[in-house]
Amino acid sequence: MEWTSRRGTRLAVALLLPLSLFAQGAGSDWSTYGGDLGAWRYSLLDQINTSNVSQLVPVWAFQTGDYANGLQSTPIVVDGVVYLSTSSNQVFAIDGARGELIWKYAYAPLLGVAATDRSRGVAFGHGLIFMGTDDSYLLALDQETGEEVWRVAVQDSDQCGCSITAAPLVVKDKVVVGGNGGDRAYRGSLSAFDAKTGRFAWRFFVTAGPDDPGHDTWSGDSWRLGGGAPWMTGSFDPELDLLYWGTGNAAADFDGEPRKGDNLYTASVVALNPDTGKLVWHYQTVPHDVWDFDSAYECILADLPVKGRMRKLLLHPAKAGYTWALDRITGEFVGAWPIVDEINWVSGITEDGKLVGRREPKLGEATYVCPSVMGAKSWNQGAFSPRTGWLYLPAAEMCNELYVRKQAPVEGKGNMAGFWRLKRPEGRENYSSVTAFDPVTGEKKWEHPYPYILLASILTTAGDLVFSGDPEGRFFALDARTGERLWSFQTGSGHRGSAVSYEIDGRQYIATPSGYGSIAGPIMSMFDDYLERDGSRSGGTLFVFALPESAR
């Protein structure tokens, strides 16, 4: 079956595809962070495909002027208009076909001036564009004019040491947003506000307080500043009416002694009632984390056969080096499979989900741990194609030595209780790859190696393409079925954001942020031969590609 969009392009319908009954994907718009509410980062558009991608040409570029920390955003596209946020919390509305500026919003904090930190995207809904800010406000802008409609302080940044870098998620009449700052002495939380008025609706505290189930998983008062910040964007299943979010690591990061117990609900996936914020189920991937293994990344919602039976799954690739597959109705453990070769913090995970052979850092020793604190995958997101049924992930093969140091927590201040030294695992030629996996078994379908660390998200399309970018500036297309590299374009600065696809007047566009930066860059510079200065040139540009008019 096919349908015709209002602009006339034919879109393949995911419904009839063999592997998934959960119809999803982004059509002519890319209206939410993960492309759809299930975080597939999959475009239904197939005008650009494996046979013609080599003809792809740039059609416009938009320079934001924001260079510090790179361009980490996912652009949102609604009715042909691209909404792009930048590291100093500016938002640009850009004509998606011509690249002309429609409006610009520059955030002005009530105190001081806008920081230049990070913004990973905006959300859209109810005629409004929503953005979290570096000083932990949530804003709503008029979609048509860019005028500010409301702003609310989600938390006090000076007190919590936290910020909001993640794109919010619009769920029915609410907008939900999580804060950053879990490595500070801080109590992570997820908050929901009425989308139209900005009025506070609910808050879910990640660390279980005295009235919450699971409170006995914290010794003493450690829950108060126990971290767990849910610092990325969650997912929503409208059929089950459940909101899913990943949470950050427990704090202090490396010293677990003052917080004996499992430390619920840090390093977990939580399923919440979206109207009340009440916990429905949880699954903790890393009980009592002592490695800085956040479980805050994407929750990919897909219906897939497991041992002959269709299951409603939640696929959750995490820093700790595994993708966890959970039943998203109940939270039941279905399986976990490694996304990288270099894993030693546990010797394995049993068939019922138990961690075996934990290798914990000890005071006064260097403990060699893989993956590193940067994660087997950074926060940049993978993609799921219902056509191949495969999950595409950017993976990093990196280890570190962890050192524990006693540290008394001070609210809002750094609380890692130690430090780390990155170590490259020996005997490898590449430290990163884009890899296609069977999402249930973890079987590797193909691997596209890269010598340094890939830090951009992945886009996959109904044209059987996989797009991503590398730190040296190349934006590239792979064949989704074979991993063969079909096209590449040098954008002049490394990739740290997330590419999207959209369609206007029958023409398919691929848009990618270009602009290297973030925490990983300086950390990697500890290696003498890593990219050097040239490979980390700053940038802050949106590049947009399409087939030449003659080719389509």
Binding site: D117, W150, Q159, T197, R224, E532
Partner: protein
């Protein structure tokens, strides 16, 4: 985090030593390199105001000490040595920039959190993060809190604290038919900005002129928003505010 302009304050302050003024170009270069390689939240933070690594502001460090740390790194920490990774001219610029931060004032000393007294207990209650809608969600004092409404001078008693009536709080009626208590912020020919006080956290809302009417009906009292606190706790909060007022 939001103190990126501090560099320019250094530049225009008459108290700045002559040599710093001469080095402004180098400070500018160093600031750019700093914000790219040193400012992220896992390292020293924007403007040197601390991330996971220590703050670089106001220590009075001499240039040699900074130069050594930047070139060689610092043992038993995550601070790498940058010699060989940055060109010498860039290293010199970063050192000059960080050196320029040594003259800046450290943020005002806050009340030590661990001293046992009414005032300190009051401070903890004022900013109690486990209570959504605590005093700090509307009031900024002692370096923390959201600056919606002023908090000083403090009322003389808990009864007076409860009875506070704010003349800037009106009843708003919107064109869409909403009614809510509104703290007036500003009104121009084009727009009206108010804090909507109807929810647990104040919302700064902007309306086109004519889309909201404000009436002085006096329906709001401070007591309505004090439900998170017991009487004794409010006494402690007042002790905290009195201590801050005495200090200032």
């Amino acid at each position: 985090m939001r103190r990126g302009v501090a560099l320019f304050l250094v530049a225009i302050s008459p108290a700045v030593p002559q040599n710093l003024q001469l080095d402004l170009a180098e400070i500018g270069l160093g600031s750019g390199i700093y914000s790219k390689d040193c400012a992220n939240q896992y390292c020293h933070g924007a403007g040197g105001n601390a991330g996971q690594a220590p703050a670089l502001v106001g220590h009075g460090w001499d240039r040699e000490r900074i130069d050594r740390a930047v070139r060689k790194g610092v043992e038993n920490t995550n601070m790498p040595g940058w010699e060989g990774k940055l060109p010498p001219v860039d290293i010199q610029a970063v050192v000059t920039y960080v050196w320029s931060l040594q003259r800046r004032k450290i943020e005002q000393e806050r009340m030590a959190p661990n001293r046992a007294s009414m005032a300190h207990a009051g401070r903890a209650l004022f900013f109690d993060a486990t209570r959504v809608g605590n005093c700090g969600t509307c009031h900024r004092v002692d370096g923390w809190g959201i600056p919606v409404a002023p908090v000083l001078p403090p009322p003389a008693s808990v009864a007076a604290l409860r009875a506070l009536s704010a003349t800037r709080v009106a009843m708003a009626t919107t064109a869409g038919g909403e009614r809510f208590p509104a703290w007036r912020v500003e009104a121009t020919d084009e727009s009206v900005r108010v804090y909507d006080l109807s929810a647990t956290l104040p919302v700064l809302r902007t309306f086109e002129a004519g889309r909201v009417k404000l009436a002085d009906e006096g329906e709001w009292s401070h007591d309505e928003v004090l439900g998170l606190y017991e009487h004794d706790e409010l006494s402690q909060v007042l002790s905290f505010l009195a201590a801050v007022a005495a200090r200032e």
